[in-house]
Amino acid sequence: MSALAQWLNVPLPVFIAILAVYGILIFASLFIRILRARGVEAGELLARTRSWWVMVSLFTVAVFLYRPASAIFLGLISYLALKEYFSIIPTRKIDRVVVLLAYLAVPVQFWFAYRNDYGLFSVFIPVWMFLALPTVMAIKGETAGYLKSVGIMSWGLMMTVFTLSHMAYLLFSGDQVNPVAKGAGLLFFLVFVAQFNDVAQFTWGKLFGRHKITPQVSPKKTWEGFLGGVATSIVVAGLIGPFLTPMDWRWAALSGGIIAVAGFLGDITESAFKRDLGVKDAGSLIPGHGGILDRVDSLTYAAPVFTHFLRYFFYP
């Protein structure tokens, strides 16, 4: 196995972790097959699980095999999320150029992540794009709806490109601080815990959910689901963190809790803006899940929060 991992150029702990994820998927598919054999209606679950197969396959192949392809793939996630965002918000015709400019920020931002240029990576969108978009809009000269448009565009660019690009930053910056599992281990840890937390919160909520947290924003979210998810994520992160990250089990468990809480916050902020726009899903790209934005909403918070937590305590 280690020879295969070496041949694929994937760190051994990450390789084993990937195999474990496929194991979980096989288990889930078998479980659903048994449910359906017993006559339980599980169409939604089946669609979701099928989509998980596709997502996990794309992610593991694109992210862990060849580095430039990883940067392009992670950039593509941001691009698709940004495109979904621009397609559901109110837009002014005059801002077509600004929308195009925002799209062009994606390759630039992921180029900085790929080059591990932390300085430019961390200021390009919050400083340079933040200043550039309103300037272009001002030069275009249409002031009606200007402020609203500036706000909507800047927030969208931050939420879909800046925050998600931290996944690429972890991948390309992590090799020195994480000599065994490398940057790939950090990225895997973050994405796995965040996505597992989503599923855990959903499952705990389905089983025991009573008390609503945010009835106005996301009526399906309950305290039982949230706390069950956080506890599960703490345990899972504490178990796998020591193999995939430079953290011991205590730090890993703490970061599991941080990822779970941040993921929840990302989830409800996305719910809030979708509710404001009057849409249920941001798109229809992933059957059973909605749009890509609906799948990565927890990562919009979890990725930057976990990255800066790790950077503060573990980066030189």
Partner: protein
């Protein structure tokens, strides 16, 4: 040779552009015709409309797909004319009059083609539907057995509206409706077709574009 070129053009760059860079949200895709003859009736906002509809159809049907387009617009310069006739595969209609404008369409349907028709006549203002012209009813009257499938598209006029060359990606909606059978006379047929399009449009939730 040209057929192969046309096939490669739609299989490669067009699909990449329409399905990945731009992205579609399709409803009722299984209602699109699986064989010819058929008539697809759609609203028209952008040059991308035709590329979008063609990229939703299986490649095997490509030789049968004929977007019906105005002779004067597409044949005004030689490069555009060659591209429109051979790669897009348009069926040119002479708007100026003279010969019966339906002759070409009737013949194409008799040969088993799938016509793509934009009864608004022009792309018009982005994301605003204008009234359908009656020509489509006359065509269906002469071919009452041919299925007519209404398709409502939204967002392509944001991505590439009339009067600009700047393409800006947005996810676009394509809603395919049930076939609208011939009703017996042109007036009631136009009403039925318009009602079908209104129904499809009402399915969507479109953010303001002002």
């Amino acid at each position: 040779m040209i057929a192969l070129l046309r096939r490669l053009f739609f299989a490669g760059p067009v699909r990449l552009l329409i399905l990945l860079i731009m992205g579609l949200n399709v409803r009722g895709r299984d209602r699109l015709p699986a064989s010819g003859p058929a008539i697809i009736v759609a609203n028209h906002n952008s040059h991308l409309d035709t590329l979008t509809l063609i990229s939703l159809m299986p490649p095997a049907l490509l030789p049968r797909l004929r977007p019906v387009a105005a002779l004067d617009y597409f044949l005004k310069n030689r490069v555009l004319a060659w591209f429109a006739l051979n790669i897009i595969g348009i069926l040119p209609i002479d708007r100026a009059g003279g010969a019966n404008p339906l002759t070409g369409s009737n013949r194409a349907l008799a040969e088993g083609s799938i016509l793509i028709l934009y009864p608004e006549g022009s792309r018009g203002l982005p994301e605003q539907r204008s009234a359908f012209k009656r020509g489509v009813a006359l065509l269906v009257k002469e071919n009452p057995a041919v299925p007519v499938i209404p398709v409502f598209m939204h967002g392509l006029g944001k991505a590439l509206p009339k009067g600009t060359k700047l393409f800006v990606p947005f996810v676009c909606d394509v809603f395919v409706g049930a076939p609208v059978p011939w009703t017996g006379d042109a007036r009631s047929y136009m009403a039925a077709l318009t009602a079908a399009m209104d129904g499809l449009e009402a399915e969507g939730h479109f953010p303001p574009w002002e």
